[in-house]
Symmetry: C2
Subunit: 219 residues, 2 copies
């Protein structure tokens, strides 16, 4: 289930306003940066490999950034690594208000587009107008998979939970909505950014099926 949207909660910075005399622009930027702390509380369905708990969105976003840096050589098209890292750092911010929409939980994606659109309006609207537009454009670029960097970032966003599922011996592959075809649909998102990493992901899925970690589709 998606985490409860936080849209009615007060802003973090309103609980402890900054000292007087901070300029308006910096104050707006810090209001956003403080509010972003909430991303550390938005839980994903994926289990950590290093501890017995679920991953949160901030940790996940960091892990994608690291993967972009280390795996960029596998992108099908040349990418600007710094730009791709920026995309994955901001890609889940809207979940602060919209909540996570876990892919293998039936119904969890209902209204996802509307929820995230409303969240983007509220969250990015905290920033000075030029930066609100800049971050919004990055988010749109990522969501639409419009550039090589966005396609590679999305490939990492698909690959990372696959790897966590593998390390867990099942993970979210055990959820009710996960069967071979829904898992293969996620694999396709890796392929779209990297043929070679997509091929590796295919091996993980093949072996996951063989071990009973992924259910075959019903006949």
């Amino acid at each position: 289930m998606p985490d409860v949207p936080l849209t009615d909660e007060p802003l973090i910075l309103d609980r402890q306003p900054l000292p007087d005399g901070i300029g308006e622009r910096l104050a707006a930027q810090l209001r956003f940066i403080a509010e972003a702390d909430k991303l550390k509380t938005i839980l994903r369905a994926s289990p950590l490999a290093a501890a017995d708990r679920r991953e949160n969105d901030a940790e996940h976003s960091w892990h994608l950034a690291l993967m972009v840096i280390l795996l960029a050589e596998y992108a099908d098209e040349p990418i600007d690594v710094g730009h791709a890292v920026r995309l994955v750092v901001i890609h889940d911010l809207v979940e602060i208000y919209a909540g996570d929409s876990p892919v293998f939980v039936p119904g969890a994606a209902a209204d996802q587009v509307e929820r995230e659109e409303a969240a983007a309006e509220r969250l990015f609207g905290l920033l000075p107008a030029d930066q609100a537009a800049e971050i919004r454009a990055l988010w749109d670029e990522f969501e639409a998979g419009r550039t090589p960097e966005a396609r590679f970032g999305k490939a990492m966003d698909r690959l990372e939970p696959m790897l966590l599922n593998w390390l867990d011996g099942g993970g979210t592959w055990q959820l009710p909505g996960a069967t071979e075809s829904t898992v293969r649909a996620r694999e396709a998102g890796v392929v779209a950014g990297s043929t070679s990493l997509g091929s590796f992901t295919g091996q993980l899925v093949d072996e996951g099926l063989r071990r009973g970690w992924i259910r075959p589709d019903e006949a």
Copy 2:
């Protein structure tokens, strides 16, 4: 106290080896990426603003990346934002084995350089040689504050916990080793990358002293 170094623990990937037939280079990269999951378990002293718990290194690194993206305009020298983001994404990786060394805990920094050097050897050594050298060079650049990007990244690394302390009404400023002069020494790290953000940090510290959130030095 520093978290217990994990140097004797097995590698995460050794618990659940990848399917056969993955090439050696990709296997090494994924071994590192899986091991990096442990950064999500390394707790810092800083309290989150959005929840009643301490921050972990992966969340912290993500927050710095976001701050670099949004506050780059305040850098004293022009910076390559993508490069600065890369630096902060990798800057705490060695703490996977070396543990966090909280600045306001007396004695916590003992052997920090040696611990982190040993951790870097072991951790970066998991990567293919060319990437081990590349990530090591990024880490050295950050640690030494050798470039404008490193100085700005370090400024964010000082500013973020200051902001969390402010939002907490004290935070790590309440630890035994924190008094005005040790807090001002952290402020200096912000000034070194950004005069204007350093000036803002100075206002936070002034007001923190006034409110009794930071102890004055003993006379």
